[in-house]
Subunit: 342 residues, 2 copies
Amino acid sequence: MSTAVRNRRIVLAARPQGEPKPADFRLESEILPLPRKGQVLLRNRWLSLDPYMRGRMNAGRSYARPLEIGETFVGATVAQVVESLHPEWSPGDWVLAFGGWQDYAIVEGDALQRRLDPEALPVTTALGVYGMPGFTAYAGLHEIGKPKPGETLVVAAASGPVGATVGQIARLHGARAIGIAGGEAKVAHVRDELGFDVALDHRAPDFAERLAAAAPDGVDVYFENVGGKVLDAVLPLLNDFARIPVCGLVAHYNEAELPAGPDRVPQLMGLILSRHLTVRGFIQTDFIGLYPEFLREMGGWLREGRIRYREDVVDGLENAPEGLIGLLRGDNFGKRIVRIED
Amino acid sequence: MSTAVRNRRIVLAARPQGEPKPADFRLESEILPLPRKGQVLLRNRWLSLDPYMRGRMNAGRSYARPLEIGETFVGATVAQVVESLHPEWSPGDWVLAFGGWQDYAIVEGDALQRRLDPEALPVTTALGVYGMPGFTAYAGLHEIGKPKPGETLVVAAASGPVGATVGQIARLHGARAIGIAGGEAKVAHVRDELGFDVALDHRAPDFAERLAAAAPDGVDVYFENVGGKVLDAVLPLLNDFARIPVCGLVAHYNEAELPAGPDRVPQLMGLILSRHLTVRGFIQTDFIGLYPEFLREMGGWLREGRIRYREDVVDGLENAPEGLIGLLRGDNFGKRIVRIED
């Protein structure tokens, strides 16, 4: 088209202390430049909201470099090609991109993650179970958690896209899956729709006792994506040689300071030693060599209905900040995505 | 011989609170029964003192079951066969046994760990560099630490049998070894005799700064055998994908309660996540399949003088309790062994 495109985008207005506020985000508008050779102009249709985005708002070292003040929020998008100056892409193509919190994006054609086939699976799955969160679950279990038949796995945020997928894959490997979620509706979903062996509400006053009762043979894999009191409740239950893939600690992302003492680091290290634990932090790109296998295996499971998922849609780019703020509180019920434009 | 043998042995008299006291140990005397079919009577010549022994004095779960009050302290010994009712062993044979803190031991012949050849290497090496501590170093690096050429490794208690061996093996793999020890004499030994690239005194008031200066490219492997302030100083220096084999936490073995806050567990978990760390607890028996390879490779290194070691001899079984109490304070200078009878 090569005409001027007005683009709305959301930028980091201020670095939050603790929980982000709406004022930490700013909606701006700009006229996009024209794409150059090798680039494509994308129309973002769906934006993924993910807990890691909180880390990017801090100045400190996290998975990746922090956002600068005034910089457009990063994020995965499902988009359609509007204009292409790259031989591989044509207008109308559906793609998985790192298109950011904006209506349009100009990206290098070589950097597009993959082509999507709207006939095969709903395109939005590329942001959840068939994308980064699903691959996080797949790779973390494949490389670190390694659930074996008869073993017991625990995962929190079990109605979210990582936790839901972790438990279902563990069950496909013959393990028992205990899912933890917040509130009755999510617990019922984890148990009845996702088919976990046990679902528990972390808000129950006797949560730790319930977890212990649900794991009479101990815990062999704890897939850590939240931290906090769930970790505390799991630690005493861990069996010798248990594995703890650590892919997130959302309970702590908004914390501005360390909790009160005593300092339990010596206790944790002592447990790692005496129980022969493996605790390993990762992000899915560490295991990117597994991605083709993931697409093949997970694609099959999804088409066969052996892995289920739930989406939680926020309408409109302008509502993405509230969507992220709520996600960090655990308000989402399923994979939270923003409908920028259908 | 089949005559009555009077045996001195040291038993657990009381469970210590914090640092063990001499009164927690008791020297007893008994007349041994006769060995039965399949058993051998051993004369213990050398007893190994090791930090893990502190854990056995507690009632709680540790690596292994606790000692009972009144039970003979366990421990590896270099011994000679006095009488054998097992076809594989003959009087005069030198063996590595789990003979305990006593003059004699009656053990199952099948349970003897291995035959020792006094012509090949000094028999006492079977308690140190060529035994459990050396294998702990070897296996922890082989399976978890995996030092690569050009990487930086840090190990504490570097004049002790595990630490000394860890640093030297890492150097044989082309890594840079930073050793930490307590006091000038040990530091000089680690640097000048063991050939570490850098040796540092953890008692220096600016220890953490010195460690940071000694690791300008960060730390890729931290072989954890002490915990405490060494761990604290290493944590900020860890590179992405660093590995932390955890085989001991001697700084904490005498602690009766947790240190004051804040609680740094969320910080440690956050570091594991953001730096993609692997933290894994082990004891050497976890990797026992490597033992034949260890004996072959380490035997070669020792005979070629590529791995050096130092022993610290306590004279007399009756002095073993003070020997262990001092070991837990870091008083030993090299592998601490008790000469029961030459």
